[in-house]
């Protein structure tokens, strides 16, 4: 008999919510665990490197990550995300308001 898989793949949107904003040409994405037990999964799997790969083609600079264990949240800074930012940007989302939702498409392994 095949061993039952101990994790299942889910999109971040199932275990987290998020909000984003801007600072110049940098978008920030605050990613918040929907339950405290999901926070360690975010810390372990949603690394800066993974987020940079996720947004490949959408951002031109590096990704920084900060941890807020008190809020069960991570904060990402996506540099070079806004086509110059603010008034310069030609993007619909010139202020990065919905970058947060794009991050929620990332897939993570959720322990069963």
């Amino acid at each position: 008999m095949r061993r039952r898989s101990r994790t299942r793949r889910v999109l971040l949107v199932e275990i987290a919510h998020a909000r984003s904003g801007d600072k110049g040409d940098t978008a920030n994405v605050g990613l918040i665990a929907l339950k405290p037990e999901y926070y360690p999964i975010l810390v372990k799997q949603v690394t800066a490197a993974r987020v940079a790969r996720h947004f490949k083609g959408m951002i031109s600079g590096p990704v920084e990550r900060y941890e807020l264990p008190n809020l069960h949240a991570l904060n990402f800074l996506l540099h070079g995300a806004l086509d110059g930012g603010g008034t310069i940007s030609l993007k619909t989302d010139a202020q990065g308001k919905v970058f947060s939702t794009a991050l929620l498409r990332l897939e993570v392994a959720l322990p069963q």
Partner: protein, 460 residues
């Protein structure tokens, strides 16, 4: 409200210039409050106001603040509610004068005192500062301001809570400021009410967190809230947030009874991470707040308690927000319908780009987005969307250039595509796009001792 108060109630009335006009009225009539805080200034707002002032020296402030005050001033005066607002923009004195005229018209002479905070405006001092070796290097790019000096339109230091405190101590009922930080407008009433000291870093940080929580208005009370968004009740009647602050730096976020929206731990978290940089270093002129120390607790329905906030001493710099002329841009849109909506929009884009190239027009940037397909999620959306079955797609092309003529020529190339490009196209009712002047934002730091805030309190 005197030093030694046991609580102070601060209500948010505007989260940005253009926010809901009903909100301040509802805040002053929906239940008891001590202060109404209204934040008007975003990064580039100052440049827009500077432009208005250069056309008419009596302007340069948030004009709609005046009719709004006209509506609430009698109630505010009767209930002894005080107002802190950075509606003064680049002309706080002009704004205060308009407020005074309104108060007199409402026969509130002798009943209202107006505080004016200035000293943030550095435009007239820029050359002197540069000559004295203050380079005002761009915080993002490191470039010195001298490179764009001749294109600078506005320059304002971010002042903190203390000048507002001084105005309140001077007996002001309505404090009108220029570029005071969003958070300072909420922190100042707490400092004033509780007699907090300038080096009480934890308390100042707590008040700063309170300010950050309510500075975007309803964005912490159910508006733009992703978590459980479909079940947030009665957003049509959304209650703007209120801080119930205590002298020990703890506070509760709530809203008036009978209003819509929701104050929840999850919703407050969303607002706390909004526009966040390094959460351990939320830097303001009043001190540094460490957002990793914040503790949140649901105390009841629509009531979240905030405690544990730690702070660190303020730096010896002030942030300066500089607006400078950058160039021109324009954005044109067309809508393509099924069948092959996405392919038609792509073809429209290719044809337009070829025409722009054939005309020899030079742009710093040409950006194409396909709304309905990939405008907000880019390649992530293309990987999952049924692009061949979309009922409609909006082609959106933007150009940017220092050359106004090139941008103007671009705006004439959109409409012809309706009859001489791919089929099934519509959505051009708005007419030809207009070239827009770009005022770009140049953030910099300046030694704090170079800025001298000025506070006046005048009777009406």
């Amino acid at each position: 409200m005197k030093p030694g108060a046991t609580t102070v109630r601060i209500a948010a009335g505007q989260g940005f210039w253009g926010d809901w006009l009903e909100a301040p009225y509802r805040q002053v009539t929906g239940g008891p409050i001590d202060y109404l805080m209204m934040d008007y200034l975003a990064e580039v707002t100052m440049s827009i106001l500077q432009k208005q002032k250069s056309r008419d020296p009596s302007l340069g402030y948030a004009k709609d603040f005046i009719p709004l005050l006209e509506r609430i001033l009698p109630i505010v005066a009767e209930r002894r509610i005080k107002i802190t607002a950075n509606a003064g923009g680049v002309n706080p004195r002009g704004c205060a004068q308009a407020v005074a005229e309104t108060a007199r018209r409402l026969r509130l002479g002798g009943k209202v005192r107006i505080g004016v905070v200035t000293g943030d405006d550095l435009l007239g001092r820029l050359d002197g500062l540069l000559a004295r070796g203050h380079e005002l290097r761009n915080l993002d790019t490191g470039r010195p301001l001298s490179e764009v000096r001749d294109r600078v339109l506005s320059a304002n230091a971010y002042l903190g809570a203390w000048p507002v405190v001084e105005a309140l101590r001077g007996g002001a009922d309505i404090v009108v400021t220029g570029r005071v930080t969003d958070t300072g407008l909420t922190l100042a009433p707490m400092i004033h009410a509780f007699g907090w000291q300038p080096d009480a870093w934890d308390l100042l940080a707590a008040g700063t967190v309170a300010g950050h929580t309510i500075e975007c208005g309803a964005q912490c009370s159910g508006g733009n809230c992703l978590v459980d968004w479909e079940h947030i009740p009665d957003l049509a009647n959304v209650g703007y947030p209120i801080v119930d602050a205590a002298p020990d730096g703890t506070f509760e976020i709530t809203k008036h009874p009978g209003t819509g929206g929701r104050i929840s731990v999850a919703g407050v978290k969303e607002q706390l991470v909004y526009e966040m940089g390094d959460p351990a270093e939320y830097i303001t002129p009043d001190g540094i707040a460490d957002f990793t120390t914040i503790r949140l607790e649901q105390k009841g329905k629509d009531r979240v308690r905030v405690s544990g906030v730690r702070g660190r001493p303020a730096t010896d710099k002030l942030k300066v927000s500089i607006g400078y002329f950058y160039g021109y841009k324009a954005v044109g849109t067309l809508v393509y319908a099924w069948p092959d909506a996405y392919k038609k929009a792509q073809a429209g884009d290719r044809i337009l780009r070829q025409r722009l190239a054939d005309l020899g027009l030079k742009f710093e940037s040409v950006l194409t987005e396909f709304l309905g397909a990939d405008a907000t999620h880019g390649p992530l959306a293309r990987a999952s969307a049924p692009l061949d079955r979309l009922p409609e797609v909006q082609l959106r092309i933007g150009v940017r250039s220092p050359d106004k003529a090139a941008v103007e020529r671009f705006t004439r190339e959109i409409a012809p595509l309706i009859l001489n490009g791919p089929p099934s196209v519509t959505g051009f009712a708005g007419g030809r796009p207009k070239p827009e002047e770009i005022v770009a934002y140049w953030p910099a730091l300046l030694d704090k001792n170079m800025v001298e805030p000025c506070v006046e309190v005048v009777d009406v």
